[in-house]
């Protein structure tokens, strides 16, 4: 599944439009956690993260873990300096009004798996 397809099908708000991700390869894996230590330890490389943790560390952790994008759930929107850091690092960020549970359910229906 391409990131642009995920964005469209889940009605995600792209909060880093400066980043072009058309050339990114397909996303087949996902991870969901609000504990960044868990993301560091367990998120598969190349996965998309769903979380409501909007602390700036999410960006550094996502990069360390080799994630392709982050979806913030329940309308949680990180502040501008977090968004800027993501743009600098080329990490696409999205916001959804849906709960983590529903977002993960939709991603699973699209074929993404946890490992």
């Amino acid at each position: 599944m391409k990131l642009s397809d995920i964005e469209q099908k889940l009605h995600l708000q792209n909060i880093t439009p400066e980043i072009g991700f058309e050339k990114l390869s397909k996303v087949t894996k996902g991870h969901s956690s609000d504990l960044m230590s868990d993301v560091l330890a367990n998120a598969p490389g190349g996965s998309i993260l769903v979380t409501n943790q909007i602390h700036v560390n999410v960006i550094a952790v996502a990069l360390h873990a080799g994630l392709v994008a982050v979806i913030f759930s329940s309308g949680m929107t990180p502040e501008e300096r977090v968004r800027q850091k993501a743009v600098e690092e080329g990490l696409p960020l999205f916001v959804s009004e849906d709960s983590t549970f529903d977002i993960v359910g939709e991603l699973y229906k699209l074929g993404l798996r946890g490992h």
Binding site: L35, M36, L40, Q53, H55, V56, N57
Partner: protein
């Protein structure tokens, strides 16, 4: 855990200084100080739960400073929910251990203060900022945030009793901050189960601050 019982147990265990660090409140610090007068140094503190659900200890130079922080915290906490089976009552006591009231705010939840804001709040009231039980997976800076954030400085990092006993704390040794341990007692029998030794002239808040700054401390 009444103020006189806490004081008595701390003295029995040979402690020279304790800090009362209730969750998100300092309501019982003054009563414990009064109960300890002339016998034991009691620091007014608080364990604050940040918006990211990180636990941070604030240790304050006075009950008044702690109380002001407590008021700011209470302003952002929801009221205690009326449940059919109540959680532990959040009791307020006097120095004799008599119940004088109940906390009306839900102290068990998280505040809306982010970690950096929490550290600022503590420092604005001249308190010491300590990252709680950094070795634990839950409610710790490393557990919640994965890495130490660049924009927050701590006066010390705390290692839990489990971390000290298992000796699995080497990876947490910070380059500049002091490292301490404490019992994090929620029950009388835990008092003194883990503590730190400070090299100080006298058991006072200022000496404590100096010992942390100069890293003149070690696990007991």
């Amino acid at each position: 855990m009444t103020p006189p019982a806490i004081v008595k147990e701390a003295i029995r265990r040979g402690l020279g200084m304790i800090a009362i660090c209730d969750h998100n409140s300092s309501g019982n610090a003054c009563a414990t100080q009064k109960a300890a007068e002339g016998m034991l140094t009691v620091i007014a503190g608080m364990e604050i739960t940040t918006a990211e659900e990180v636990h941070v200890l604030g240790l304050f130079p006075s009950v008044e400073a702690a109380s002001e922080v407590s008021d700011e915290i209470h302003a952002v906490l929801p009221d205690v929910e009326q449940r059919t089976t109540p959680l532990h009552d959040q009791l307020l006591m006097d120095e004799k251990g008599a119940v004088i009231g109940k906390e009306t705010k839900a102290l068990y939840g998280s505040t809306t203060f982010r970690l950096s804001e929490t550290a600022d709040l503590i420092r604005r009231h001249h308190g010491l900022v300590i990252a709680s039980h950094v070795d634990k997976p839950g409610f710790s800076v490393l557990g919640q945030l994965g890495l130490f954030p660049e924009d927050v400085s701590f006066d010390a990092l705390e290692i839990s009793i489990g971390g000290v006993r298992s000796r699995k704390y080497e990876r947490y040794i910070p380059p500049t901050e002091a490292m301490i341990t404490s019992s994090d007692s929620h029950f009388l029998c835990d008092i003194g189960s883990s503590c730190s030794v400070l090299l100080v002239l006298e058991p006072t808040f200022n000496e404590l601050a100096g010992a942390l700054r100069g890293r003149r401390c070690r696990f007991a």
